[in-house]
């Protein structure tokens, strides 16, 4: 693709200000946009589901000298029961930690831990075990950058299977780091192994059955020692693989190594029966202490609480996190709240004070600060969060876990006249309102569909409905596994529910929209069910006013709603499982036209009124057909790139479109050439043709607000300065 081709047909800006739907100004952008012409953008990065549940680790992943926290969560996808790994990077720059980037991998983290590895380019790496669905086995993953992305995915040495990474360190003392892993042999025995971190080649594979290994410097040679759980417990020299020591009593699960031994030397601890933590010193090896059990059977860390002296053992129980001197068993710090997930203790915010990060956490939220100081509305009290508190107590900060997709967005004066806000409703059943100017979270709530923090089974829909003399309503729709409340109206300021459409036969709402059908200035709500039945609901009460005939079967539908130019309105709805277009008069609910010359409709887009009314239909083959709104007759077509899910016209004739394919926005020219406009914005970008596109006045480009599986963004693109103003 060349710039010339991408800008063919660029003409002077032609303003076609017409009275648009919802009062929106439709402006044709005649001049081409260009790559790199991003004028402004913000990205709101929600915390992924189960934040930290698949591990957390601190490192400098972008090489800027400042540490970040990588947090592994999960997004359970509608079409994949096991979900996908989502990595959030918590940026500690400044006193306020914030989510800096979230990225989704094409795999699932197969363990609950992330490990930091040194990168030769000054950027730390994250090492973990990921489940490769297509290979049906776990691989070693090395991630880098912000957002974190897979740099290398390494298969385990055949015929072994990789179970988990248990440490990353220069185990053999050769100056390069290795991954200490647990492998499964073909005879189903788990054994320890040392893998080259660059190639994944096995440097050593032990023959002792074990489920856990930790590493520590326990003697005088340069190599580290592997402490191998099992009965007997073993200490193995990391360079030679020879057994340095064995303990007949065995090392139980929950092995922990750290500099908590005598004089701050490395030591290790193992869980024993009865909730005992037994501490073993290095050479000459021997048990040195036993800390009696309490409520701490969950997680433990070796942490440095003081600038000098030994590290301490932090043990998190469900009720409390406690800190012990390993050699005396004495408590060395006031207990902190407990939990059931991972935790780490670091100076995350760079204020020289340590914070404790719980991931995930489900504790009380009272008194905690949310991102951007946003005000929480009603929240599921059991919702998972990433929690950060100061080690010395106080200052609780929370990030609510929020599974994507976040594509369902709507933009408008949600906070009242003169405001400009973006509402996004996620599969995590979280409704968030973001300032469209700054991208900061203003208010949010969860549990609208009472899913108890389980993600909705399908991507939800959102629409905005105007009301007379009041704040608009956000219309939310979701497909629930059981009959219930698939459509509701929520006050756009208070986020309180105004009404719920309670009819159980509404189950399977596929799309929602709004339009003023009776000219009273308030919108009615139009619902398309999964069986392509159209419902007209009173926007103020949710009362069903009328309905069309639907199909006997169907699993998904889409629709567009537009004025008919005669005071009424029409809708085009997909039918027959997206193999048919149906034009419906929303006043009579009569079907005016049907078209069967389409297959696998992905998205509908309508613009213009009267004779200029156009309908663009995107199908699974990425073919865009332009149709007459009244007859549905095909007037032209255009080929879009494969994977296109979103389209918005850039001129009134429908010769150029803004499209989303993959993780990027593109400009699709009349010649079918697509020019990438944006950077990677996450998979599932503008899914279901959801998003808000505004042509900026004065030829200043356009603004698109959309969401993906990992973020919500506003991107403002400028026109190509070379070709602007009548060149050609």
């Amino acid at each position: 693709m060349t710039r010339a081709s991408s800008t063919a047909g660029c003409a002077s800006l032609r303003h076609e200000a017409r009275a648009g739907l919802l009062g929106r100004l439709i402006v044709a952008l005649a001049c081409a946009l260009v790559p790199g012409s991003l004028l402004f953008a913000w990205e709101y990065q929600p915390m992924p589901g189960e934040p930290g549940g698949h591990g957390m680790v601190v490192g400098d992943f972008d090489g800027d000298g400042v540490h970040e926290v990588a947090v592994a969560g999960v997004e359970s996808l509608p079409d994949r029961a096991d979900g996908a790994a989502v990595f959030a990077v918590l940026d500690g720059t400044g006193a306020q930690a914030r989510v800096r980037a979230v990225a989704k991998g094409a795999f699932l983290v197969a363990d609950d831990a992330l490990w930091r590895a040194d990168g030769k380019d000054g950027r730390d790496r994250v090492v973990t075990t990921v489940w490769m669905t297509e290979h049906y086995q776990s691989w070693l993953a090395i991630l880098t950058g912000i957002p974190l992305h897979a740099e290398r995915l390494i298969a385990p040495p055949a015929p072994h299977e990789l179970i988990r990474v248990t440490a990353v360190a220069d185990v053999d003392g050769d100056g390069a780091q290795e991954a200490v892993v647990i492998l499964k042999r073909p005879d189903y025995v788990f054994v320890p192994a040392i893998l080259d971190l660059e190639t994944g080649a096995a440097k050593w594979i032990g023959d002792m059955p074990t489920g856990q290994v930790v590493v520590a410097q326990l003697d005088g040679d340069p190599a580290l020692e592997l402490v191998v759980a099992g009965t007997p417990g073993l200490v193995i020299d990391g360079a030679t693989g020879w057994q340095d020591w064995s303990w007949a009593g065995g090392f139980g699960g929950g092995l922990l190594a750290g500099a908590f031994g005598s004089g701050g030397r490395d030591a290790f601890a193992a869980w024993a029966e009865g909730g005992l933590l037994q501490v073993f010193g290095g050479y000459p090896y021997a048990p040195v202490n036993e800390i009696p059990g309490q409520d701490w059977d969950v997680k433990r860390l070796s942490v440095r609480l003081d600038p000098v002296g030994p590290e301490r053992i932090a043990v998190m129980g469900r009720q409390a996190m406690q800190f012990f001197d390993a050699l005396t068993g004495n408590s060395v710090h006031d207990p902190l709240p407990g939990g059931a997930g991972n935790f780490l203790i670091e100076d995350i915010t760079g204020d020289a004070r340590r914070e404790v990060l719980y991931g995930p956490s489900a504790g009380a939220m009272d008194g905690c600060e949310f991102p951007d100081g946003a005000a929480p509305g009603q929240l599921d009290p059991f919702a998972a969060t990433l929690r950060m508190i100061n080690l010395d107590g106080g200052h609780c900060r929370l990030w609510l876990a929020d599974s994507g997709t976040h594509a369902a967005v709507v933009r408008g004066p949600l906070g009242g006249p003169g405001t400009d806000e973006v509402a996004t409703f996620s599969r995590g059943d979280v409704l968030s309102v973001i300032d469209a100017t700054t991208g900061k979270l203003r208010r949010f709530r969860s549990d609208l569909f009472e899913t108890l923090s389980r993600p909705l089974s399908r991507p939800p829909r959102i629409a905005l409905a105007r009301r007379i003399g009041g704040m608009p309503s956000l219309i939310l729709a979701a497909q629930l596994p059981m009959p219930g409340l698939p459509v509701m109206a929520v006050d756009s300021v208070s986020l309180q529910v105004r009404w719920r459409a309670a009819d159980s036969d509404l189950g399977g709402v596929a799309a929602v929209s709004s339009i003023d059908l009776d000219g009273d200035g308030a919108d009615e709500v139009i619902v398309a069910t999964a069986r392509s039945q159209l419902l007209v609901l009173d926007g103020e009460t949710g009362e069903r006013l009328r309905e069309s005939v639907g199909d006997a079967y169907g699993y998904q539908a889409d629709m567009v709603v537009f004025p008919d130019g005669q005071g009424g309105a029409r809708a085009v709805v997909t039918a027959d499982e997206r193999r048919q277009l149906r034009l419906v008069d929303l006043s009579t609910m009569d079907v005016l036209q049907q078209s069967v010359d389409v297959t696998d409709i992905i998205a509908l887009r309508q613009w213009g009124t009267g004779a200029d009314c156009r309908l663009a239909v995107l199908d699974a083959a990425a073919r865009i057909t332009l149709r007459d709104c009244a007859t549905l007759a095909v007037q032209g077509d255009l080929q879009a790139p494969a994977g296109t899910v979103f389209l918005h016209e850039l001129d009134s004739e429908g010769t150029r479109f803004l499209i989303a394919a993959g993780e990027h926005f593109h400009e699709l020219g009349a010649d079918g050439v697509a020019t990438q406009l944006s950077g990677a914005l996450g998979p599932g970008l503008a899914r279901d043709n959801a998003g808000d596109v505004r042509i900026l006045p004065g030829g200043q480009g356009l603004e698109v607000t959309a969401g993906s599986d990992v973020l919500v963004t506003l991107q403002r693109f400028g026109p190509d300065p070379v070709f602007a103003d009548g060149f050609e």
């Binding site: 064995s246 303990w247 007949a248 009593g249 065995g250 024993a272 029966e273 005992l276 037994q278």
Partner: protein, 699 residues
């Protein structure tokens, strides 16, 4: 070094018992009690059934005990384990031609397995199967041949039983009555002196025992218990019947022999338990004795003796062991006087009382074994070797186990004390001797679990007075699994080492029980072992538990070596081997291994063909051991051959690797002090040279 172990099924080793002490019988006479002269010494002995009550999960041994006294005091002279359970069995005494008695047992209600025991100790002389036999009621000599008189069932289901006469030698049923019966007795009731069968039923019958000709009937019937005695006029033979009414009241009918007639009836309230024939020393005829409960006094019973002719109460004896649930009369002690032998309802206990005055002469509270916790030394400080032994618990919950000091030479009980704590169902007691103070007598250290988990008892008693010097309770979870001693704090006084159920070594100051140190918890297992020793002047202890052996420097309080072994550790022992200090370990693999004391490096290993409970080195050796296991002792020879000594010594033999074994000076005999679930024995065992060199070795 690993040697294969071959098993010699029955090595004819010479062995002789120095003495055997039988601490008690649980559930005495629950199934049977008979009196007779079983050893032919002219005095009676009481043979009674009992149980060696073991810990939950351990096998329960059924015993036949012989209670009697010769020149010495009344005691359990012998206890013979039975192969089968005897809970619902029955027994009767027979009389051999030489006048000695023997006992015929039916081991259970319907097994038909009849055994004949004779002698003291009782030994099995005959076995016969009599299918359908449900009770042995008497043994009669008819025409010079021993017959079982009993009850048989004709077919399934056993709705009714019938009287029967069975040839004891062959088990052949010679006669079976046609009318159902509930009991049958044999008595010489006629002027001809011939034995008659008195058959309990309705009507009651008297038949000639030889011809089975009907001699008399009693239409109202004979009840469930018949005793024979000289109840008739002028002391002629008669019999008495106990009949129970539906409202639990009883009536005792007393009958004379030919001419048959009822001569007296005694109506009793619901207090009557048993009836017994009570001889009248120096007078003609017998009393009829009624053993009864004393209302409102559960710990006391009474035996009232009545004149059969008049029904006049002759005397009443107060019985301190409670209501007799089984009783007999016999001249079982050196006095030659008839004594009342009874199992009293308190416990129950086994008691003997003077039949005239009621004076208690013997009382034994049932104890639960095993009695493997034994040790020996100059306990009393008088220069004599004495043995200390303790069982697990008393069968009466209000009493604890009894600690006994026995004469090392004779096994005679010198001193005893009963603890006042209840011990647990699963716990194994441990015992040790040590000098913990300035007096000459040793201290006895007993470690035992209490009746509740975590309720420990570590008590130290003066060996002479048996007064408690100190005790510690609730030291750790569970209960103790091993006991040893060592001077840990170098104060010149031995300290107490105990291994807890959580496999934690706890060191208590020998002076007062103050805790000096406790180790980390090792993997817990139900058994373990401790072996303390001295290395270069510092106390060490080898701890064996679960599948590991751990060496602890007690002075530095650090683990210095450890070793994983194959199988759960059963016992650990230290001795001086040919090249220095040795630690031996027996495991449930089963295996015996020998290790160097300082490093636990393996020196020898012997797979074993049986599950051991204890082992002892026989001298300065890495390959010659005495083993206890499966109720017997075995000699593991240097060539790996295991020679089993035939004598059955009981379950849980030397359990907890307890006991004391010494190789005598000439190396051919072993002096072994061991305990099992029903005995404490000091045995001198000859090591049989015939079977060395693979003679008669079976692979």
């Amino acid at each position: 070094m690993t040697l294969g172990v071959l098993l010699i099924a029955c090595a004819a080793s010479v062995n002789a018992a120095d003495w055997v002490h039988y601490p008690s019988l649980s559930a005495p006479a629950r199934a049977a009690m008979v009196v007779g002269d079983f050893d032919g010494d002219g005095r009676h002995e009481a043979v009674l059934s009992g149980l060696a009550s073991a810990r939950q999960g351990d096998p329960e041994t059924t015993l036949l005990g012989v209670l009697g006294g010769q020149a010495d005091a009344l005691r359990l002279r012998s206890v013979t384990p039975l192969a089968e359970a005897f809970r619902h069995g029955s027994a009767a005494r027979g009389q051999a031609a030489d006048g000695t008695s023997f006992v015929v047992t039916l081991s259970a209600f319907d097994t038909g397995h009849v055994e004949v025991f004779a002698g003291v100790p009782l030994h099995r002389v005959h076995t016969v199967e009599v299918p359908g036999l449900t009770r042995v009621e008497a043994v009669a000599t008819l025409d010079g041949v021993h017959k079982i008189v009993g009850l048989m069932r004709e077919s399934d289901p056993p709705l009714a039983t019938y009287p029967a006469v069975i040839d004891l030698a062959s088990g052949a049923v010679e006669w079976m009555g046609t009318a159902p019966a509930v009991t049958v007795a044999v008595a010489a009731l006629g002027s001809d002196g011939a034995p008659k069968l008195v058959i309990g039923g309705t009507p009651g019958l008297v038949l000639d025992a030889s011809t089975r000709a009907l001699e008399w009937t009693w239409a109202p019937g004979f009840g469930s218990e018949i005793v024979v005695g000289d109840f008739g006029p002028g002391g002629t033979p008669g019999f008495a019947i106990r009949n129970n009414y539906e409202d639990f009241r009883s009536r005792v009918d007393i009958f004379r022999g030919q001419p048959y007639a009822r001569i007296r009836s005694l109506e009793r309230p619901d207090t009557l338990e048993r009836i017994v024939t009570v001889p009248q020393p120096g007078a003609v005829g017998d009393f009829i004795g009624l053993a009864e409960r004393v209302p409102g006094e559960p710990d006391r019973g009474e035996l009232s003796s009545y004149l059969p002719a008049t029904g006049q109460l002759a005397r009443t004896l107060s019985l301190g062991c409670g209501t007799p649930v089984a009783l007999a009369v016999g001249a079982i002690d050196a006095s030659g006087e008839p004594r009342l032998v009874y199992a009293g309802s308190r416990g129950p206990r086994l008691c003997v009382a003077d039949l005239t005055t009621g004076t208690p002469l013997y009382e034994s509270i049932g104890e639960n074994g095993p009695f493997a916790a034994v040790a020996r030394g100059d306990v009393g400080g008088a220069g004599n070797e004495e043995v200390v032994a303790v069982g697990r618990t008393s069968v009466e919950s209000s009493y604890g186990p009894t600690l006994r000091v026995l004469d090392g030479a004779t096994g005679e009980v010198l001193r005893s004390v009963r603890s006042d704590y209840g011990s647990g169902s699963y716990t194994l007691p441990f015992i040790a001797l040590a000098q913990l103070d300035a007096d000459s007598q040793l201290e006895v250290i007993v470690a035992q679990g209490g009746s509740a988990m975590g309720e420990w008892w570590i008590e130290v008693r003066d060996g002479l007075t048996l007064q408690q010097e100190w005790e510690r309770t609730r030291i750790d979870q569970g209960f103790p699994t091993a006991l040893s001693t060592a001077d840990v704090n170098a104060d010149g006084v031995t300290d107490v080492l105990v291994l807890s159920d959580r496999a934690r070594l706890v060191v208590l100051d020998g002076r007062d029980g103050t805790e000096l140190w406790r180790s980390i918890a090792l993997p817990a297992s139900p058994a373990g072992g401790l072996a303390s020793f001295d290395r270069a002047g510092t106390p060490q202890v080898a701890v064996g538990v679960a599948q590991g052996v751990y060496l602890i420097d007690l002075a530095a309080r650090t683990f210095t070596a450890n070793l994983a072994v194959d199988g759960a550790v059963i016992g650990v022992r230290k001795w001086q081997g040919p090249g220095g200090c040795r630690i031996g370990v027996i495991t449930a693999a089963p295996r015996l291994s020998v290790h160097a004391c300082d490093t636990l490096a393996p020196l020898a290993e012997y797979p074993l063909p049986l599950m051991p409970t204890a082992f002892w080195p026989l001298g300065n050796t890495d390959g010659h051991f005495l083993l206890a296991g499966e109720g017997k002792l075995h000699e593991l020879r240097p060539d790996g051959v295991l020679a089993t000594m035939p004598r059955v010594l009981g379950n849980q033999l030397a359990e907890g690797n307890q006991g004391s074994v010494r190789l005598l000076a000439d190396g051919s005999q072993v002096d072994a002090l061991i305990g099992s679930d029903y005995l404490v024995a000091r045995l001198r065992l000859g090591l049989d040279d015939l079977f060395t060199g693979n003679f008669e070795v079976q692979p």
